[in-house]
Amino acid sequence: MPAASPSIAHDPALDSVRLVETPEGVSLRLAPAGPLPRALAWLLDALLRTVVYVIAALVLAFLGDFGGGLMLIVFFLMEWFYPVVFEVLRDGATPGKRTLGLRVVSEEGVPVSWSQSLVRNLLRVVDFLPLLYGFGLISMLLNGNFQRLGDLVAHTMVVYESDTAEAGKLPEGEVIAPALAFSPDEAQALMAYAERRDTLSDARASELADLLRPLLPTTAPDPSQAVMGVARWLAGGR
């Protein structure tokens, strides 16, 4: 096990997570978003744009031909530049993407520039071909980062925005010293279990913990509680 490898073992064959190294020499994980959440985000944005069109049409209808001209300009700006403005000025996310927890970043993980955003959104036309993002979908499926053609040319990708949850705090409880020494990776796996315990059903949590029964102290009543106790011990509650 190489010491410099990133902590949470990601087999590139199993996981779509992409490692990006910063100039400071630490590697960050970016999780590219697949076609489905992106399609939903697009749909939300399309709905939002439709609402804007309806409101604009109602208001501009009072201005006659002049309003008609303005309406066409509104159409033009919204169709081509709506995503660009949000991607550059609002942290890489249109309202739809924000709702789905997505954002557009450059492949280095930094925010996109005007040019990058314009390229990826103008080339949307080609991704849309032959219908409903056919080429875009093919490109995303052939590509490890789920990049559509516009993303490939613009050097960008759409990633999940992970939330910064309160970390490093396991729920209070009994601290149990393990019966044997765990390797760092094993210890990390136990702590990952403890941190995700709340997201699992009780039955599933017990089932997973039960696999470890031979390794747990025999006095432990419930394997799930025992793993939690060991995780607390590993995190430093000893």
């Binding site: 910063t22 630490v26 001209g69 033009f76 103008l122 036309v125 490093g168 000893r238």
Partner: protein, 317 residues
């Protein structure tokens, strides 16, 4: 050091970085760069010591947040636009003279060919456009009618302005984007637009609607036709990156071509909007003598050519 002790020791710095990230204060006052480097070290330590995934995730998010803040690109938009207009745009166009020649050929050769061919056999126009559209064109530029098209107030001038921006600039953007299909899409749009324009122009000339038609189009033609050809050039740049990437991977060649193509598309979009303005508010007017219209057209063509030939040259060259 175990995880809890590590968190307790470093927490204060992290909270400070978070609060700095939370608002948009400038960087001074809190020694942010040093704290950021320390944070990077914290992350590296947490990774190598196999601390819990949630802690590592939290540190990663924090690093990513500061990283984005540090390395976001400065945008001095107005300054950039000025520099682009007087320097980069004409240079970019001259640098692409090969592709520009190809795009011009794809557009102007069919245009001229159809223009001439329709003089010989006017019915050719019907293989390009449907009958009712030809009829509409005929009516629109009929010298017998006192106005071009229909009676227009300034309100409907503005309506047409909106339409030209929406329609023509959109066509330009599509012509560019379609270049990603190995250049074929751009080539198609160039030839198609050339054919239609040539056929219509030839047919109306043959009918004798010369001053009404040519007087109408000559004003905005300098901007609009140039913009069409430049959009096509940018599209061909994308296509050639795929067909002949040179000594780079196709991927890298495309990224580079996207950058170069956009260097033309910005300008083309500007020209389309200029053209829309001229077409809506000048070309449609009927009060100036037709000679004035031709003169204005000639002046605008001269300006466009001079702009691309003369601007953006190094001083003293």
């Amino acid at each position: 050091m175990n995880q809890d002790a590590f968190v307790a020791k470093r927490q204060a710095d992290w909270v400070l970085l978070d609060s700095w990230l939370g608002d948009d204060r400038p960087m001074d006052g809190h020694d942010i760069p040093r704290r950021y480097r320390q944070l990077c070290q914290d992350l590296a330590l947490a990774q190598s010591r196999r601390y819990s995934p949630a802690l590592i995730q939290q540190l990663e998010n924090r690093v990513l947040g500061v990283h984005r803040r540090f390395y976001r690109r400065p945008s001095r938009l107005l300054q950039r636009i000025g520099q682009y207009l007087v320097w980069e745009f004409p240079r970019n166009v001259r640098r692409e003279w090969r592709l520009l020649s190809i795009a011009s050929g794809l557009f102007y050769l069919p245009l001229i060919a159809l223009l001439i061919a329709v003089q010989w056999s006017p019915e050719l126009v019907y293989s390009v456009l449907p009958v009712d559209q030809v009829g509409k064109m005929e009516e629109m530029y009929d010298p017998a009618s006192s106005v071009l098209g229909r009676e227009r107030s300034s309100d409907s001038d503005f309506q047409m302005f909106g339409f030209y921006i929406f329609n023509n600039t959109g066509i330009g953007f599509r012509t560019f984007a379609a270049g990603l299909l190995f250049g074929l899409g751009s080539a198609f749009f160039l030839v198609y637009n050339g054919v239609v324009l040539g056929a219509v122009a030839g047919y109306l000339t043959d009918l004798g609607h010369i001053d009404t038609f040519w007087g109408f189009v000559v004003g905005h033609s300098a901007f609009e036709l140039t913009a069409v050809v430049l959009s096509g050039t940018a599209g061909l740049r994308l296509g050639f990156a795929l067909l002949a990437p040179g000594r780079r991977s196709r991927r890298l060649a495309l990224i580079e071509a996207g950058r170069q193509g956009m260097g033309l598309v910005y300008g083309a979009a500007g020209l389309f909007i200029l053209a829309a303005f001229v077409e809506a508010f000048w070309s449609s007017t009927t009060w100036p003598p037709v000679a004035v219209k031709y003169a204005v057209g000639a002046v605008l063509w001269t300006l466009v050519l001079a702009y691309f030939l003369l601007l953006g040259r190094p001083r003293g060259a």
